[in-house]
């Protein structure tokens, strides 16, 4: 009996595949909501859901650091920014006009075609999947830190500079000039 059970288990989809299907369905539904929901605030919330789903995908791909960074930066930072912007430009949320512009139909057709062509190609390509077992996850995170200050030092510093410029620029742009 146990031998049969083992065979049965071997035929079942693995735990990873099961989890992937769940996370992927969630992400896809949320991404559709981002595009199709009429209320702008719902779009933003669906974006949060989709970003959570992507974080789940990172976790499935064993990139834990990225998964957590994704939640931290996207959900904590960017989504909050977007919701704030939505609320500051109010009156847009309950508009009775269509949320789409004139080229929506054309765009849907073109993008639908593009997606089916892409998916077709992706299914055709014989990908080489090495899927090496990862060792200690902590070593990878330590390596990431080391790479930041060795190989990728200049991009890293450029990033810091960019963020500083963005900080100043965003404040300059969004500042209320009427106060002065």
């Amino acid at each position: 009996m146990p031998a049969n059970l083992d065979e049965l288990i071997a035929q079942l989809p693995t735990f990873q595949q099961f989890m992937f299907v769940q996370v992927a369905l969630f992400t896809a539904v949320m991404a559709l909501l981002v595009v199709l929901a009429r209320n702008l605030f719902h779009n933003a919330l669906a974006l949060v859901g989709a970003l959570f789903g992507v974080a789940g995908l990172y976790a499935l791909l064993e990139a834990e650091f990225l998964a957590v960074s994704q939640v931290l930066i996207y959900v904590g930072g960017i989504s909050t920014l977007i919701t704030f912007a939505i609320m500051l430009t109010r009156g847009m949320m309950f508009g009775d006009t269509s949320p789409n512009n004139r080229q929506a139909g054309t765009a849907a057709i073109v993008i639908g075609t593009m997606f089916s062509v892409m998916a077709g190609f992706l299914l055709q390509v014989p990908w080489q999947e090495a899927y090496v077992e990862l060792g200690d996850g902590q070593a990878i995170i330590a390596n990431l830190g080391r790479l930041f200050v060795n190989e990728y030092l200049i991009p890293f510093e450029m990033m810091a500079l960019l963020l500083l410029v963005v900080l100043a620029g965003a404040i300059m742009l969004a500042r209320d000039h009427m106060i002065e």
């Binding site: 992937f20 981002v34 595009v35 974006l47 977007i82 269509s98 765009a107 960019l162 963020l163």
Partner: protein
């Protein structure tokens, strides 16, 4: 093991959704949301190729994703500041009404 194709197709789907939002939505914020979705789709591809590649020790995929996330944050901040600034001047963020530069 999950075949890499599944990840790639999901990423393609997210990218298409984001592209549709960027092309077809009226509201500038919705367009920005679409761009964020597209950037995430790219990140999924980067991480998937890193994980399924032969040399896992080479963390270029993860590094690039981190840079993409940082750029996305910067882009969102400046984009939203621009949108708020435009809203203050024109009282609208509908992109098809912002046609001052059209000759």
């Amino acid at each position: 093991m999950v075949p890499i194709t599944w990840y790639l197709i999901l990423a393609a789907f997210l990218f298409s959704c984001g592209l549709y939002a960027a092309l077809a939505r009226r509201n500038a914020i919705a367009v920005l949301i679409g761009v964020e979705l597209m950037l995430n789709a790219v990140n999924i591809n980067l991480i998937a190729f890193w994980r399924y590649g032969e040399n896992v020790e080479n963390l270029a995929g993860q590094m690039f994703s981190i840079f993409v996330i940082a750029i996305a944050a910067a882009e969102a901040a400046v984009g939203l500041a621009l949108i708020i600034s435009v809203y203050r001047n024109r009282k609208t963020v509908n992109l098809d009404e912002l046609d001052v530069l059209q000759g």
